[in-house]
């Protein structure tokens, strides 16, 4: 290597920015060339000189207090201050921020389509036909379509799912059952529904790609073992509940369908949990905790404003998010 080739590279060599091959060539040249070696040595002298100009960068003691005071009234992603926005805008901002953080990837197309169908059906019914005669017709149509994509499951609650995911009116189930006018007819209808729901839950799992053949067989065994809680909750969606509009029933059905899917996936995830790395487990647990908070918030909002389709939609979206996260966990 000659000086005219080496000199332009000496600074980069000094900065440690040459690749290994070129650095070796320059180093060999510096060892043999006094002039270039002096140039290299001067770079060190210059650096020491430049660093003579030091800055006392210690901040004032109240630096961060001032920073936080300035951030106190603004929050990332929040366009509307909480105190001044109309109720729906506040709800939208709060719930949108809560749901926006989840990073779980998309569901399989089949499961996504199924859950979206349920959510849209419930919301449309609430917006357009709440309490009217047409609502019965529409809800029958939507529910039969919902059966086709298979949204119900009778699985027992084997997970540690928090109470926030429970429907608020689950306690009404027993009372509703006791008022059934025809026990035999009711039992046959319940049996038919349960058989459909068994099938539905397996279809949900297949659509989400959560179960292989052996696992599906196991899930079938779990399904036949019964699910008192779910069945009791399911009873309240039937025509036995007096003075409940079809729209309300449809929303409750949608909620139960999500819960059923969540129970199924939670059961599967609980068995696969040991396969996750600690980091993955921590990430998922954190995401699930946030989802459960969102479910609790959105359910509360939907209960306070049962005729608000936005509140209902957010609630169903929160459920869908949980399904999404659990599906991702089960695929790991």
């Amino acid at each position: 290597m000659k000086c005219e080739e080496s000199l332009p590279l000496v600074e980069q060599y000094f900065d440690g920015e040459l690749d290994a091959r070129e650095a070796a060539r320059v180093e060999a040249h510096l060892a043999a060339c006094a002039a270039c070696a002096r140039a290299h040595a001067r770079l060190e002298t210059e650096r020491a000189l430049f660093l003579a100009y030091e800055c006392d960068a210690a901040p004032a003691s109240n630096f961060w207090d001032d920073v936080l005071a300035k951030t106190g009234s603004t929050k990332p992603g929040a366009a509307i201050p909480a105190a001044t926005a109309p109720p729906r805008a506040r709800l939208r901002a709060r719930l949108g921020a809560a749901l926006a953080q989840f990073a779980a990837p998309r569901l399989s197309p089949a499961l996504t389509a199924a859950l979206i169908f349920v959510a849209i059906g419930a919301t449309i019914a609430l917006m357009k036909f709440g309490g009217s005669d047409e609502s019965a017709r529409l809800s029958r149509g939507i529910m039969s379509a919902g059966d086709r994509v298979a949204q119900r499951a009778p699985f027992p609650d084997t997970s540690n799912e928090d109470a926030a995911a429970q429907p608020a009116s689950a306690g009404d189930a027993d009372a509703a059952h006791e008022t059934a006018p025809s026990p035999e007819r009711d039992a046959r209808a319940t049996k038919r529904r349960e058989m459909k729901e068994d099938k539905s839950a397996r279809e949900i799992a297949r659509a989400g790609g959560a179960l292989n053949v052996r696992e599906r067989k196991k899930v079938n065994l779990v399904a036949t073992a019964g699910g008192d809680e779910l069945r009791a909750a399911r009873r309240m969606t039937g025509a036995d509940l007096p003075a409940e509009s079809a729209a309300d029933r449809l929303v409750r059905e949608a909620e139960l369908k999500y819960m059923a899917a969540i129970r199924l996936l939670t059961h599967d995830v609980s068995r696969r949990r040991s396969r996750l790395t600690p980091d993955e487990r921590a990430r998922f647990e954190q995401t699930l905790a946030a989802v459960d908070h969102a479910i609790a918030d959105t359910r509360r909002a939907a209960r306070e404003r049962p005729r608000d389709p936005v509140a209902v939609q957010y609630m169903l979206t929160a459920y869908a998010k949980k399904v999404e996260v659990l599906s991702e966990m089960s695929r790991h």
């Binding site: 001067r42 430049f50 951030t71 953080q101 921590a282 990430r283």
Partner: protein, 213 residues
């Protein structure tokens, strides 16, 4: 993104997230999630470590200590507001220094295109040079030297000063400088070479000997 930011937190110089969280068992992932949700304390725990580097960086860009601290506060405020927009693959320090660069640049342009003619030798932030001779003459020389270096730095154009500051005062490599500035690696290399040449020329009396390259 959470994993990348958590790794940055854990890899930082001697700061354990759990210790930063004042004895709580909060993980970096939880801390970051809280900060993105608008939790000011979580934001502080994550970003406090960058306070001095950011103040230092801005100081070398604008030449005034008090202004540097104000602009550093503005930097963190913008970072707080912009956390939601932080890309998943972004490095936290690169992103933060990018904000600081913009803040410093805006301040310089607001104050006019001409840099200060000289550095105030009485500015307490202009510390004396490290000098083996603790004599009054040495002390004065150190102050004068620091002021001379400061003046030479402020005489560089904005791009060269930016690259030079990141290289010498933030110890960044070319790739990091390119990421922070948005310059190409070739521009970083060329601007650094030219900045060195200018500094060498302005500080020739202090370098002494044969310092031509």
């Amino acid at each position: 993104m959470m994993e990348r930011l958590a790794i940055e937190l854990l890899a930082g110089p001697g700061r354990e997230p759990c210790a930063d969280a004042k004895g709580s068992m909060e993980t970096p992932v939880e801390l970051i999630a809280r900060a993105r949700r608008g939790d000011g304390e979580a934001f502080r725990l994550i970003f406090e470590r960058y306070t001095r580097p950011i103040i230092s960086f801005i100081f070398y860009m604008v030449g005034r200590r008090e202004l540097a601290e104000e602009l550093a506060q503005e930097t963190f405020l913008r970072a707080f507001k912009g956390m939601d927009a932080l890309r998943d693959d972004a490095r936290l320090s690169t992103w933060l220094f990018g904000i600081a660069r913009n803040v410093a640049r805006e301040s310089l342009r607001a104050r006019g295109t001409e840099p200060p003619a000289s550095v105030n030798m009485d500015d307490p932030a202009v510390t004396q040079a490290r000098d083996a001779a603790p004599t009054p003459a040495g002390h004065l020389f150190g102050k004068e030297l620091g002021a001379a270096v400061g003046a030479a730095l402020l005489a560089l154009d904005e791009d060269k000063r930016l690259v030079f500051t990141l290289k010498f005062y933030q110890q960044r490599n070319y790739e990091e400088i390119a990421a922070i500035t948005g310059f190409s690696r070739a521009k970083v290399r060329n601007d650094l070479c030219r900045a060195r040449a200018e500094m060498r020329r302005r500080l020739k009396p202090y370098l002494g000997g044969d310092n031509e390259m």
